[in-house]
């Protein structure tokens, strides 16, 4: 199988809304599957919605009993990017030749993958992500309190989860068997990610304490300071912060955390979005700020294959911010029509998506092209 290289060039000014994927309830999280064909968006109605970007089909994954934000994918082998051109062309050609009454070209099968989703009742659910109507195939009571995030190891064998019981836990990706609990955080653990070399794992808690875990020994190799993402607000006597988003650079030379900083009023969300870029070798943090002043939180962050760093977030409105490599000030901002609660980038870097508080997932295409026509699937 030949897999084309990811998009090496990014022109953020070319970003256009390609799809508006609507759901009736506010969205909480979003992730692209390994082929980039599906966008999974979790919602306040406890469902995960699967949007098929190829066919336009929308499928509800029902099984959680609370909100889901953490989502990660296990693919048995390298996955080829979804082909968004061939099938629509075949469909269009057939319709041109035989009119609208002809039987359509069968919808291409998606390669198999597992989705693991984490909810605020502390449960992890395994789903066969590409199935016609995915059902829970494994449910694990993983955390006492919220399970906030999940990640999959580079070899696809291990799942890491974290949550409000201050724990990071490791599970067998194949069947959900518990492997190990990594104890050490003193506050809620907000996010977790595997280093691309597969030997280390980082986790970040509410207080901005980052732990670098050695997966062989289960010990903390070092702590990294990201306290710029945390604040105890003495006025309201409460803590705000944590890494709302986390991502590793594909070569493992850095990872990024996103959240809120400079908080002056925690209960009104008065603060500024920020990305904390951490050099892996040195463990030193660098702050990346948006190009324009903004009040709110950066809810998600990703590395684009070109090296650019992209974050999405919101306050009263939604934004997507772009940075060129590790330059401290952003180079471009895209205004999103709703408050953005999560951000994801497709595996090839062709697209990004935000989860809107208005129930719409906005999918942006970086090619500058207009909306891709969606051919509705024919009923058999």
């Amino acid at each position: 199988m030949s897999i084309p290289p990811p998009r090496a060039i990014l022109d953020p000014t070319a970003a256009r809304v390609e799809r508006e994927l609507k759901h009736a309830k506010p969205l909480v999280g979003c992730r692209f599957d390994p082929s980039g064909r599906f966008l999974f968006a979790s919602a306040e109605d406890d469902t995960v919605q699967r949007f098929d970007l190829l066919t336009g089909a929308k499928t509800a994954l029902a099984g959680h009993e609370s909100w889901t934000r953490g989502m990660a994918f296990v693919a048995p082998s390298p996955v080829a990017p979804a082909d968004f051109d061939a099938w629509p062309k075949q469909q269009a050609a057939l319709q041109t030749a035989g009119g609208f009454g002809v039987v359509g070209v069968p919808t291409p099968k998606a390669p198999p993958f597992l989705l693991v989703s984490a909810d605020y009742h502390g449960k992890l659910i395994w789903w066969q992500g590409e199935a016609d109507t995915p059902k829970p195939i494994k449910i694990v009571q993983a955390h006492d309190g919220w399970a906030r995030s999940v990640a999959v190891s580079p070899d696809g064998l291990t799942i890491a989860s974290c949550g409000n019981d201050n724990a990071v836990k490791l599970w067998k990706a194949a069947d959900g068997t518990a492997i190990r609990t990594l104890d050490g955080h003193a506050s809620h653990v907000y996010n977790v990610a595997f280093h691309p070399n597969g030997t280390r794992l980082v986790s970040c808690d509410l207080k901005g304490v980052v732990k670098d875990w050695n997966l062989k020994t289960g010990k903390v190799e070092r702590e990294i300071d990201a306290k710029v993402l945390a604040k105890y607000d003495p006025g309201f006597m409460a803590d705000i912060g944590g890494a709302r988003g986390i991502a590793f650079k594909s070569d493992g030379s850095a990872f990024a955390l996103s959240g809120i900083t400079n908080v002056s009023n925690a209960f009104a969300g008065v603060g500024n979005p920020v990305v904390v870029l951490i050099d892996w070798a040195e463990g030193k943090a660098k702050l990346l700020k948006p190009k324009e002043a903004f009040q709110g939180t950066a809810w998600g962050v990703c590395f684009h294959p070109s090296g650019a760093i992209i974050a999405g977030g919101g306050g009263g409105q939604g934004r997507v911010w772009f940075w060129k490599n590790d330059e401290p000030v952003g180079i471009h901002t895209v205004n999103v029509p709703a408050n953005c609660r999560d951000f994801a980038i497709s595996p090839t870097g062709e697209r990004c998506a935000v989860a809107g508080s208005n129930g719409t997932a906005y999918v942006y295409n970086f090619s500058g092209a207009g909306p891709v026509p969606v051919v509705p699937p024919k009923k058999k």
């Binding site: 909100w67 919220w146 803590d239 925690a266 009104a268 009263g316």
Partner: protein, 424 residues
């Protein structure tokens, strides 16, 4: 000079004994029945208000609506009362439900912090021309003992300075106004400086008293009365300084309350009630969660839950629960609608209050909201109903009057009445 517009115009009328003997004001007839006056004295009824400042969410506490548009991510858990479920954020409190009366149908009229607080503490809508006394002042006046070695009305604030207030007793007079304890600490400047000898201090105080008395004979006013009372209150606090030291408590008990500020403040409140203080209000801050309501309620209610349950157990173990009314309130609730920043905003139309202890029927839920919590569907009550209920719960007749300047002022809003279903 301002006249002394108190409920009673002379200092002698502040005496509880005189008050009980007076038929002009509440007098013996002020109590539910004359026999209960003796019982009241014996059992020393007390009131404690736990005030969740900023407006706690009813959906994350007493009236959860899981798996609905407004319910948020939390589940409802079973309590010690079959069929009564509260938020999973209150697991320890859930085990105390048999002691609680939960009112789920409160409409408190105002979505403003300041106005809402006043409405909840006075049991009245704000009216031009009159300021009603807070429940603390009313409790101190009607339940307090004149022989008490401590002020009758104390509020423990999570932070800030300590001092003597004058506005919350209004026409009841400064004797019943609150003494604030910022972070549970008595006012720092009331204690005798180390380099001032005791006898010198006594001489100085006697001289001050002499001047004060002479001044009061000719030019007594509300201001001078408040000043004098603050001295008296301070004197009482100084003499009972060790009551304020929670380190004197059994460490295991202190552990149960929790080794954090709110746990310490609740333990202090129990000590003060035990030492004879009639009314203690403990504020817990803060619940004004316009942003990330759910994360903040996890944190704040995580701090509230265990100490509150420990307090109820402790009061019960000491035989104090049946004589102490405990109320958990806020200035308002929070909107059922979840805003785009995961926040909930101000909401007074349909929210909840919880009561326990003296005169309260445990295991009761009063009133109902609809499936999404956006409206009261059964037994709507106002703050006036609650005010009547508090007074009735501690054995007082809430339908009587105060007589500031010989003008009758109902103790509680006459357009409302006690919530009988919540009373034992």
């Amino acid at each position: 000079m301002l006249p002394c517009n108190y409920a009673c115009n002379t200092a002698s009328h502040f005496s509880r004994r005189a008050f009980l003997g007076s038929t002009a004001a509440l007098g013996l007839g002020g109590f539910a029945n004359p026999a209960s006056a003796a019982e009241l004295k014996k059992s020393q009824k007390r009131v404690m208000v736990i005030f969740l400042s900023g407006g706690v969410s009813q959906l994350e506490t007493w009236d959860p609506k899981p798996n609905t548009d407004t319910g948020g991510p939390f589940k409802a858990i079973q309590t010690s009362v079959t069929g009564t479920r509260i938020s999973e954020l209150l697991p320890h409190t859930a085990k105390q439900a048999h002691r609680l009366a939960i009112v789920r149908s409160l409409n408190s009229i105002s979505d403003d912090h300041g106005v809402g607080e006043k409405i909840m503490l006075t049991g009245r809508k704000m009216e031009p021309g009159i300021n009603y006394p807070h429940i603390g002042a009313v409790s101190a006046k009607l339940l307090g003992s004149n022989e008490s070695a401590l002020p009758g009305h104390i509020q423990i604030l999570p932070k800030g300075g300590s001092g003597f207030n004058s506005s919350d007793a209004t026409f009841l007079g400064p004797k019943f106004a609150s003494v604030s304890l910022g972070d549970g600490k008595p006012p720092a400047d009331i204690f005798r400086p180390k380099d001032l000898a005791a006898d010198t201090d006594a001489e100085r105080e006697a001289f001050r008293q002499k001047l004060n008395d002479r001044f009061a004979k000719s030019r007594k006013s509300a201001a001078t009365e408040a000043y004098t009372e603050s001295y008296t209150q301070a004197e009482r606090v100084v003499k009972q300084a060790e009551v304020f030291d929670v380190e004197k408590e059994n460490p295991k008990l202190a552990d149960r309350y929790g080794r954090h500020d709110f746990g310490r403040h609740l333990l202090l409140a129990r000590r003060l009630l035990e030492a004879g203080v009639t009314y203690v209000k403990v504020s817990h801050s803060n619940y004004d969660t316009h942003h990330e309501n759910f994360d903040f309620h996890i944190e704040q209610l995580g701090e509230f839950d265990r100490p509150f349950a420990a307090l109820l157990d402790d009061l019960a173990d000491r035989g104090m629960l049946e004589s102490t009314l405990v109320v958990v309130m806020s200035e308002m609730g929070r909107t059922p609608r979840i805003n785009d920043r995961y926040g909930r905003d101000h909401w007074s139309k349909a929210w909840s209050v919880c009561m326990a202890g003296a005169g309260i029927k445990g295991g009761v839920v009063v009133g109902k909201t609809n499936a999404t919590g956006t409206a009261v569907t059964d037994r709507e009550v106002y703050s006036g109903h609650l005010f009547h209920t508090y007074l009735r719960a501690v054995g007082l007749d809430s339908t009587k009057n105060f007589y500031p300047n010989e003008r009758p002022v109902p103790v509680a809003d006459p357009k409302t009445a006690a919530i009988e279903e919540a009373l034992a």
